[in-house]
């Protein structure tokens, strides 16, 4: 279609535009919210210390009996300011930029006695301050309150969790979490699944990069119900034993042409089915993994996008050698959006 025709089309669309709505009056009675970022503990402590000093200062100065060493008034408040270096976090907005990002959600195994949660990457919209790393937008979308998991997917990350910032250091992504992070997600498997979600989401730019956690800019203390130590750089393979044996690593949309992932499956064979919105299998086949039966390998499946119907799903699994039943099934829903973006 020529540029002229496109312009003409847009002109016809604009002609249909209604009158602009009136100014939304409700805002007159609303005060725009103050910055949502709550004071960090060290800052609260600093503020409290400053307040104590302010109250105490006249008493100290005017105590008159010499019982208080005047030097006390000059002692700086014991604020561990060095524990929060300025560079530890990406400061909250200037202007937020919205972008498409990938977040890793979870899927419970069909039989919890036989499998672990699966990770499923989905494309959503995230936002971060202009100039901040994209991965910050992804992590904030992952933990944020507006994320609505697609059908069949969920998240181990408790509500209210926050990512303070991200720094990219060579081949490591440093993720600064709020202190609530250390409480974990309620049980060992949920704790590890939350770490997996964060690690896989943070390393989406390159699966080989490491992820290190800080809390409020400082080294984290014991984590979760088992008091795990997080004083290391995590890579995607760190907690593989707590994941489903088939992991998809490419978000799937109606225009996808390939699906990639890693798997540790019998005879290095991953089977897949593409189902339409009515649940009918429109294609079923298998592909080889680069390593199998006791080791993890990678796989890629070429798919015909015409078969990927919005509302349908792609199922990946391996067939049990005992009874041929699909095992460790991962079900990836196909979104409506052409680019594979789920609304959030």
């Amino acid at each position: 279609m020529s540029d002229e025709k496109m312009k003409d089309l847009m002109a016809r669309v604009v002609e249909m535009a209604p009158e602009a709505p009136p100014f939304p009056e409700e805002t007159v009675t609303l005060s725009p919210r103050p910055a949502r970022r709550s004071m960090r503990p060290v800052l609260v402590f600093a503020a409290a210390a400053a307040a104590v000093l302010l109250v105490a200062l006249p008493l100290i100065i005017f105590s008159g009996d010499g019982g208080v060493d005047p030097a006390v008034t000059t002692v700086p408040a014991p604020v561990p300011t060095t524990s929060v270096p300025e560079t530890a976090t990406t400061a909250l907005p200037e202007e937020q930029v919205t972008m498409q990002v990938v977040v890793y959600l979870t899927q419970e195994p069909e039989n919890s006695l036989q499998g672990n949660p699966a990770l499923v990457p989905v494309r959503v919209f995230g936002s971060a301050p202009e100039g901040a790393p994209e991965v910050l937008a992804a992590l904030r979308a992952l933990v944020g309150p507006t994320l609505v998991p697609p059908p069949g997917l969920g998240s181990s990350i408790p509500e209210g969790m926050r990512v303070f910032g991200v720094i990219i250091e060579d081949d490591t992504v440093v993720v600064d979490m709020d202190p609530r992070f250390l409480e974990g997600a309620g049980g060992f498997l949920a704790d590890v699944t939350m770490l997996n979600q964060l690690i896989w989401t943070a390393s989406q730019g390159s699966p080989d990069v490491g992820v290190r956690f800080t809390v409020n800019g400082a080294e984290p203390g014991p984590y979760g119900s088992d008091g795990l130590l997080l004083d290391t750089v995590f890579t995607r393979d760190y907690f593989l034993t707590e994941l489903n044996n088939v992991v998809v690593t490419t978000p799937i949309g109606p225009e996808s042409t390939e699906i990639s992932g890693i798997a540790n499956v019998f005879e290095a064979t991953v089977a897949y089915e593409i189902r339409d919105a009515a649940g009918e299998v429109v294609e079923g086949d298998f592909t080889m993994v680069t390593c199998g039966t006791g080791c993890w390998g990678s796989f890629t499946i070429e798919v015909d996008p015409d078969l990927l119907e919005p509302g349908g799903q792609v199922r990946l699994f391996w067939n049990s050698p005992e009874d041929g039943e699909p095992t460790n099934v991962v079900v990836v829903p196909i979104p409506e959006d052409e680019q594979g973006v789920w609304g959030n």
Partner: protein, 156 residues
């Protein structure tokens, strides 16, 4: 600090950009829901915790309109069109609706609609469109190519 002046600024800003935002929203979700999208987007922007620190409010409002529009399922427009077609002339309070055009636009993703609108109505470069949408220039070009192809098929 929030003052009455700050609220007045919002109103002034709104008056300045409401018409162009409504046109943009029409390009994204059609004429039936454009006003709602603009209202929702502006409320969302004005109540945003960082609204007071935004350097370029116009660009921010555009992005918020885009964000709100993406929440609108594309079937919404399809449903509206079905209602228009099914309605008797008397029951349609009738904005002039070009059903063929809207049906064609409805076959595009919201991203494609945004890229087409910003390119062919606002005459922005792919770089500016990418900035406005918060996506890469490559994505914008892909959206445009697919949109042109699809519209060409539908309207030929």
């Amino acid at each position: 600090m929030i003052t009455v002046a700050g609220v007045m600024d919002n109103e002034e800003l709104y008056r300045l950009h409401a018409t162009e935002l409504t046109r943009y929203a029409t390009g994204l979700v059609g004429p039936f829901d454009a006003a709602d999208v603009v209202t929702d987007a502006c409320l969302k922007a004005f109540e945003s915790h960082n609204w007071g620190e935004v350097d370029n409010p116009r660009a921010y409002l555009y992005r918020t309109v885009f964000s709100v529009a993406t929440d609108h399922h594309r079937r919404t427009l399809a449903r509206r069109l079905r209602e228009v077609k099914a309605a008797t002339p008397e029951s349609v309070p009738a904005p002039e609706v070009d059903v063929d055009v809207l049906e064609a636009v409805n076959r595009l993703s919201v991203q494609q609609r945004a890229a087409v609108y910003l390119t062919y109505w606002e005459d922005l470069t792919p770089e500016k469109v990418a900035e406005r949408m918060g996506v890469s220039v490559g994505s914008v070009k892909r959206h445009l190519a697919r949109a042109r192809k699809r519209l060409g098929e539908l309207l030929s």
